[in-house]
Symmetry: C2
Subunit: 200 residues, 2 copies
């Protein structure tokens, strides 16, 4: 025996969510059906609308339901600075950290030949269009500090070098607030190589 | 800055799910929008349909979109045995364990005066109807082994006693496969009180 067919379908459907296995799906379904049907209806409505309407910003390719995202619409950002990131979440993290006043470009992934993700899948034609139009003179390659992120940064650097723009990458080093004892060796040796003059 | 209004709405809507905070909601939304829109649409459809159509079985009150659940429809279950549980999940757990061939009644909760949950909220009029019609002669009070579950079992026992049915409660004792060292004191002392003759 199991639950009724429709409840079983709901259990299956909930498992598309990352990190949700059979037990969690059951807990979620019971919560929605027993205690929060209005919340469930609202989730269903918003999820359907988002799946239909959310697309990519025509300029920076972040997720938005408008042709251009709020940040690309803003006249107060500097066109000459462009930060290239792998995901909309990375873009949000940088915005929340504060300090960067330029614009963004979202790749939606990284180069990964084994998964069949090549340059064409990262919207590089859209990137070319931004580079042509915006008068960018510095590009910050803020792909993730992973093997794939590094490879993607190197590829982008090769593509962008002929344009004569300044290229940079985020600094590697020890994270703030951590203890050296627990920092991995690779990070530590990069932090040594990148050591900075100490100004008292 | 945040995501676009519709994506932010999706993050909020996902937080109705139990155990989902801001970070998990973001991970779920990004997964659905970036990698599995079809799964997201399917979840939205099924969730809406379930929130609208799933109700209570007219007889046992478990969750079902039909007037009577599959188990109440089955002619192969014994009408004379009735197992009263707190939730549809408890009913499923007992079915999966196997061995019980009677019917069920689902309270959808337990007595909890502080939360304003009294006898009327547990469908006891429906329980009376079942007791009248079905020729029940044994009721297993399988509410949870918690303070509220115990109190609910005692209340139900008082209500059902005048009917002259046999009343029972699940055995307390040490769980199978556990080590005594890690069993809590309350459970251990109940297991001692309920010790059984050993037949070699």
């Amino acid at each position: 025996m199991a639950f009724s067919p429709l409840v079983d379908q709901l259990l299956d459907a909930l498992r598309v969510l990352p990190g949700v296995g059979p037990k969690t799906a059951q807990r979620m379904a019971m919560h929605l059906l027993e205690r929060d049907r209005d919340g469930g209806r609202q989730l269903a409505r918003v999820l359907m609308q988002a799946a239909e309407d959310v697309g990519y910003c025509q300029r920076c390719r972040t997720l938005t339901e408008q042709p251009l995202c709020e940040l690309c619409e803003s006249p107060r950002r500097e066109d000459r600075l462009l930060c290239i990131v792998e995901s909309p979440g990375d873009m949000l993290a940088i915005e929340e950290a504060g300090g960067f006043r330029g614009r963004y470009f979202v790749l939606h992934g990284h180069l990964s030949p084994l998964d069949g993700i090549g340059p064409d899948d990262l919207g590089l034609d859209a990137l070319d269009a931004v580079m042509e139009q915006a008068g960018v003179d510095e590009v910050i390659l803020a792909t993730n500090p992973t093997v794939e992120g590094e490879a993607t940064a190197h590829y982008l650097a090769q593509q962008l070098k002929p344009r004569g723009v300044t290229l940079s990458r985020l600094a590697y080093g020890v994270p703030m607030g951590g203890e050296l004892e627990y920092v991995d060796g690779g990070t530590l040796s990069r932090a040594f190589m990148g050591r900075q003059p100490f100004n008292d």
